[in-house]
């Protein structure tokens, strides 16, 4: 789950809407080389490559908003499933925290896109996230008791790690609107907290 979703974010976002021309794929490398060498060379490369970087490597703000909302929604639904199925006190407390926090973040995100007049735009990354989540939900629905608790909490650890990696490496650096970037940055800190919390719960139910 973790590897595939991360990989997916990178591959889709890097190449979405652009031809597979070698020139496009060279852009990120030129930026990378640039950071290792002097500032002057870097600046030249950056200017030369910025057009490619924006079109080939970056998701747009409407796509980012959609991905973030989708990712939030998925974890809220997973929490609701856990509240229906689990009897473990720690798992239930964690699940209700997830429902509460992800609801709060999504309300904030919806208010922001409304304010910015951004229309969230569906995209392959969102679609893939939804597909994986519905497969995972089907898998979890068949489990009960301790087996469910373990599968749910292990998935929460992996899922938050995947989302946090995507936020840190792709979504936050790609966001162009500062308020969107700030909300994603706050979201990352909240979800890093969830990841640690999930790891603690996972360690406790082994």
């Amino acid at each position: 789950m973790r590897m595939s979703a991360t990989h997916l974010m990178h591959t889709h976002l890097m190449h979405s809407g652009e031809p597979n021309s070698p020139r496009y794929r060279e852009t990120p490398m030129s930026i990378r080389i640039f950071t290792r060498t002097g500032a002057a060379i870097a600046a030249i490369c950056l200017f030369a490559g910025s057009g490619f970087a924006q079109t080939a490597a970056k998701p747009t703000d409407p796509q980012i908003a959609h991905i973030a909302y989708t990712a939030d929604q998925i974890d809220m639904q997973a929490g609701q499933l856990a509240l229906k199925k689990s009897k473990n006190k720690d798992v239930r407390a964690f699940a209700s925290d997830m429902v509460r926090d992800h609801t709060a973040v999504n309300q904030k995100a919806l208010a922001l896109v409304k304010k910015l007049k951004v229309k969230p735009e569906d995209n392959p990354t969102s679609q893939q996230l939804s597909k994986q989540a519905s497969d995972k939900r089907a898998e979890l629905s068949k489990l009960n008791g301790a087996a469910f608790d373990k599968a749910y909490i292990d998935n929460e650890v992996a899922y938050h790690k995947t989302v946090n990696d995507a936020l840190q490496n792709t979504l936050i650096p790609s966001a162009s609107n500062q308020e969107l970037k700030d909300l994603l940055t706050t979201g990352l800190k909240i979800f890093q907290g969830h990841q640690q919390h999930a790891e603690q719960v996972a360690a406790g139910i082994k």
Binding site: D97, R100, D101, A104, V105, K108, T186, K189, I190, Q192, G193, H194, Q196, H197, Q200
Partner: protein, 113 residues
């Protein structure tokens, strides 16, 4: 409350004396403010004395807790809400947020002289 005490003082001088010491004593309990912002306690480290109050003010969009690692206290603070505790004993207490354990703080509590 004050009116009641002053009436009592006519017949109970020791009570009045004790009341005067509490009010005019050299040290008064303080309220120390800690803000919760960007999933962090600010300031993360504070010093206080026994009897002081610590008040957390949550400016984040999600609820937080301030939970002592030694389990001596645990308070939940809603978004845009405040909550507080009174420090009852001396020592250093580490605390964290139960919902976001990446939030950590520390209170060094001195005994009152």
């Amino acid at each position: 409350m004050r009116r009641r005490r002053s009436r009592l003082s006519f017949g109970a001088l020791p009570v009045l004396a004790a009341f005067a010491i509490v009010v005019a004593g050299p040290v008064r309990a303080e309220v120390i403010h800690v803000t919760m912002e960007q999933i962090a306690y600010m300031p993360a480290q504070i010093s206080a004395s026994v009897g002081d109050t610590v008040e957390w003010d949550n400016k984040d969009i999600v609820a937080h807790s301030a939970t002592a690692r030694d389990k001596s206290w645990d308070v939940v603070i809603a978004p845009n809400g405040k909550n507080s505790i009174v420090l009852k004993s001396a020592g250093t207490v580490e605390y964290y947020c139960r919902f976001h354990p990446n939030m950590v703080g520390q209170i060094t509590v001195k005994a009152r002289e």
